[in-house]
């Protein structure tokens, strides 16, 4: 069991953890053939922590993130997100959990075309049933927080990649989620923008007491993590407690 604090596994109450998994297995099936992707993932992330999932392509990082984001179901094992046993709830409840308690940042931003920056940030709020004026007040505050208040009315096509990711970050925070899940958030950014976005993510999650799980293989941003878990062949291999150790392991 990999825990992000030094307490032993037996001491931990799954309900106190933002993320708690035990014996998670996942395989992708094509016909009769099954390719295992995750093999017995045990993980506990305390609330308010920023944990990175690192590892080479095909190691199962994104699959694990999808399971933690209630987008994918585990074949086997226990997954508790923010105290909810997501294996025992239905699709609608998982959708509600994503909408109300989780925030997502994607590698390619996935902003909605045709909506300007502020309206993109409004989307999760509108999905939560907020009226457009109330949503825009909240969205503007978030754009200010990410330093894009003056770009609120700009179409994302006219924003730089770094600015788009900051809009996506504001969108992820819009619904006031307890857990932020980020998938390779710096992969489409240059080094400077990557540092800037991750610093912002770190600052906002710390300021607002959020938990963050970040998938990345970018060693340049490891220093923002409270803890780095190294995945390989569907297993957590690296149990380094300090970011520096993981950076060394990754050659960063």
């Amino acid at each position: 069991m990999i825990a992000d604090q030094t307490r032993s596994w037996s001491d931990r109450n799954p309900d106190d953890c933002a993320v708690y998994t035990k014996g998670v297995h996942k395989a992708y099936r094509r016909g009769a053939a099954a390719t295992p992707v995750l093999e017995g993932i045990d993980l506990a992330v305390d609330r308010g922590r920023c944990v990175y999932l690192a590892g080479p392509s095909g190691s199962g990082k994104t699959t694990l993130l999808s399971i933690l984001g209630c987008i994918l179901s585990a074949d086997q094992g226990t997954v508790r997100i923010l105290g909810e046993d997501v294996g025992s709830i239905g699709r609608d409840e998982r959708t509600t959990l994503r909408r109300t308690r989780l925030g997502f940042v994607f590698q390619r931003f996935h902003l909605i075309r045709g909506l300007n920056a502020i309206n993109n940030v409004c989307v999760p709020l509108v999905l939560q049933g907020l009226t457009r004026p109330k949503a825009q007040v909240r969205a503007m505050a978030l754009l200010e927080a990410v330093g894009l208040a003056d770009r609120a009315g700009v179409d994302p096509r006219n924003l730089s990649a770094g600015q788009c990711q900051r809009v996506a970050l504001a969108r992820a925070l819009a619904g006031d989620p307890e857990l932020i899940l980020a998938d390779e958030p710096t992969a489409s950014l240059d080094a400077a923008n990557g540092q800037e976005v991750m610093a912002l993510l770190k600052r906002l999650t710390v300021e607002q007491g959020k938990t963050a799980v970040v998938v990345t293989h970018d060693p340049r941003i490891f220093h923002f993590a409270d803890r780095i878990l190294h995945l390989e062949n569907g297993r957590i291999m690296d149990r380094a407690e300090q970011p520096a150790a993981a950076m060394a392991a990754a050659g960063g």
Partner: protein
């Protein structure tokens, strides 16, 4: 959801325009085809609709105002004796020929009416006066039939049924379902033009006393004269219209063309919505990933379909008004009553909603996992 749907729809202007063309096409087609049909079919009951009579009495099983069967004129006395009848006058309708200045002839429908009451006379008289038919040899014809009748002038003398006829007034817009122009004159003169005995007529036009019940009077007339049928004005107009509808397949051909137009519109809207969805699969995946329910996702499509239908319908209706204004003529009237426009738009809305089901099936299959795999 509405704002999200509208803004994303407006962002794809090319596709929006394509869909709007489909909707506008459907709305215009339904309204203009329907309007032409109504305009044409309403001509079948033209004499009845404008005849000023409350009840039409004719031979048993009469089925078309332009094709009457002779009945004895003396029945009029029995009708006048029925309670609730204020006035009853004989009316003659029959086919004859008018000579033309070029030496040719043109088939005409002669309409003979009571000279005193002028019940069933020509309307919309624009040249001369309606009562001018009381003048010797006086007839009223319609200006719009000028081409067929070689542009007769007021005061010009022609022959109808081999008898002298002088054009004393001209109406505008009295063009029946038949190709033969109407010629209005007095009952007696019409009998001459038609070479009929003045003891026979085609109909009795009945005006009701104030407060009299049309259905009750019709029943009484049929009881007193078992060989006759009597119908309230609207009913007989419908019988005349139904005659052409059922015996010519007119309704089917117009209806088929309209349905075809609706189908084309539906395909265009469905195709456009589908293309919009295909183009935005990733975005729908994103919405699902961040917690949009199936219902919310479908409501975006529905909202887009409703917007397309509403905007397209409004543009279509404006075009229909323009077409009606510039192209509706007495020969080919385009009648677009409010219920046709409303019904047409409702149908188009329904089609747009149905069209949104096809792309929805595609969206349902979108796995939010796709946004994490890119």
């Amino acid at each position: 959801m509405w704002s999200l749907a509208l803004e994303t729809l407006a962002a794809d202007r090319g596709k929006l325009l394509t869909a709007l063309v489909g909707v506008v096409f459907s709305v215009v087609l339904v309204n203009v085809q329907g309007g032409l049909f109504l305009g044409l079919i309403n001509k079948a009951g033209l004499l009845v609709d404008h005849g000023q009579a409350d009840i039409w009495v004719g031979h048993k099983q009469m089925h078309n105002v332009d094709f009457p069967r002779d009945i004895p004129r003396r029945w009029v006395h029995r009708i006048r004796g029925i309670p609730g009848v204020r006035q009853a006058e004989p009316y003659l309708v029959g086919f004859s020929e008018m000579t033309l200045p070029s030496g040719g002839f043109e088939g005409v429908v002669v309409v003979g009416l009571d000279g005193e009451s002028l019940l069933g006379n020509a309307w919309n008289v624009e040249e001369g006066r309606p009562d001018a038919i009381l003048q010797p040899d006086g007839v009223i014809i319609d200006q719009c039939e000028g081409q067929k009748l070689e542009y007769p002038k007021l005061g010009e003398v022609r022959e109808v049924g081999g008898r002298r006829a002088r054009i004393v007034a001209m109406s505008r817009g009295i063009m029946g379902f038949l190709v033969a122009p109407y010629v209005f004159t007095t009952y007696e003169r019409a009998a001459e033009y038609l070479h009929k005995s003045p003891d026979l007529c085609s109909y009795f036009l009945v005006e009701l006393a104030p407060g009299a019940d049309a259905a009750a009077v019709c029943d009484a007339i049929c009881r007193y004269i078992p060989e006759a049928d009597a119908f309230p004005k609207n009913h007989y107009s419908w019988i005349s219209i139904n005659f052409w509808m059922t015996r010519t397949g007119l309704g089917i051909s117009f209806g088929a063309a309209t349905l075809l137009g609706l189908f084309v519109g539906m395909v265009m809207v469905a195709q456009t919505l589908y293309a919009l969805v295909l183009d935005r699969l990733g975005e729908f995946g994103t919405l699902k990933a961040i917690g949009a329910t199936e219902r919310q996702v479908y409501s975006i499509l529905l909202a887009q379909a409703i917007v397309m239908a509403t905007v397209g319908s409004l543009i279509g209706l404006v075009l229909v008004l323009g077409i009606q204004h510039f192209y509706s003529t007495p020969r080919a009237p385009i009648l677009v009553p409010w219920w046709l426009s409303l019904g047409g738009c409702a149908l188009v809305l329904l089609i747009c909603l149905v069209s949104s089901l096809l792309p929805y099936q595609r969206i349902r299959k979108v796995d939010p996992m796709m946004v994490l795999q890119s």
